[in-house]
């Protein structure tokens, strides 16, 4: 169920996360603190 969705809004802090890249190297969101970041989410399917 996704009825309790709490979507981050403009003006709020972006949520932290950690994910591997396409080569398996792990990154975390906090590594980019201090930069202006554009996060583009897409899918190959």
């Amino acid at each position: 169920m996704s009825v309790t969705l709490q979507r981050p809004e403009v003006g709020m802090e972006a949520p932290d996360f950690s994910l591997p890249d396409v080569y398996g190297k792990r990154w975390s969101w906090s590594q980019f603190r201090g930069k202006r970041v554009l996060l583009y989410m897409w899918a190959s399917w």
Binding site: P15, F17, L19, D21, W27, V37, L39, W42, S44
Partner: protein, 236 residues
């Protein structure tokens, strides 16, 4: 992707980092091939478990989120995010040209209504896709567009009458529109589909027994009430 590579190169001197995330449940091979074929040099993460779907509360792509150097979200667009959209690129370039202290704290009304317009276009284009309808309905509800949200939830439920999410969302949108009787009926349909979903059950109680939720939430009453309803449902 090549378009975003150009964008990243253009703004390389603006303390700017482009990142991409492939929302691919099937592993890294397909996105890696895609990345290598497109020649992008910025990192591409693979989100196989849908972590960002849950964190950001969206269910479809492509999406874009722009975050300033202090970690605050300044722009986000769920579905319809494309480098080919001049209005999107213009907004991003304005943000990149603006010192962080000068950015208004809240989105402009124009930006919000633009998002709703895009969502309505998407809803019309995917009129027979229950997942798309549901996802757009949830977004519309969050944007405060209860009437459009109710329409999209209703369509999602017509397309998939086993979707508790669609029935629950329809109830929530109707409740916001002041149609409490219809809202309760829709929540009850959702509860019939998912009798163990405590969120739905509690939402019904919240409307029917407001005195049990304000000024204090009466958890003991909830336990008794749940046992009573479960017993009654077991007999039915």
């Amino acid at each position: 992707m090549p378009g975003w590579q150009q964008f990243a190169e253009k703004h390389a001197g603006d303390n700017f980092q482009m990142l991409s995330v492939a929302m691919d449940g099937g592993g890294v091979e397909k996105p890696r091939a895609f990345v290598e074929a497109s020649g992008v040099t910025f990192p591409t993460f693979v989100d196989a478990s849908g972590l960002l779907f849950r964190l950001y509360g969206f269910t479809a792509v492509p999406n874009g989120v722009y975050v300033d150097e202090t970690g605050i979200i300044r722009f986000q667009l769920f579905t319809g995010f494309s480098v080919d959209r001049e209005d999107v690129v213009a907004q991003l370039e304005t943000l990149l040209a603006t010192p962080v202290g000068d950015i208004p704290a809240t989105p402009t009304v124009a930006q919000q209504s633009l998002e709703i317009e895009v969502m309505l276009e998407q809803a019309a284009a995917h009129g027979n896709d229950p997942h798309m309808q549901l996802s757009l309905a949830e977004s519309l509800l969050q944007e405060g567009s209860s009437e459009h949200a109710a329409k999209a939830f209703r369509r999602a439920f017509e397309l998939d009458c086993e979707s508790a999410n669609a029935a629950f969302g329809l109830g929530t949108a109707l409740h916001q529109l002041g149609q409490s009787t219809e809202a309760l009926a829709s929540w009850r349909r959702a509860l019939q589909i998912e009798p163990d979903n405590f969120i739905i059950r509690k939402q019904i109680w919240r409307v029917e027994y407001p005195e049990r939720f304000y000024p204090v939430i009466d958890y003991d009453w909830q336990k008794v009430k749940l046992a009573q309803e479960k017993a009654a449902e077991g007999r039915a």
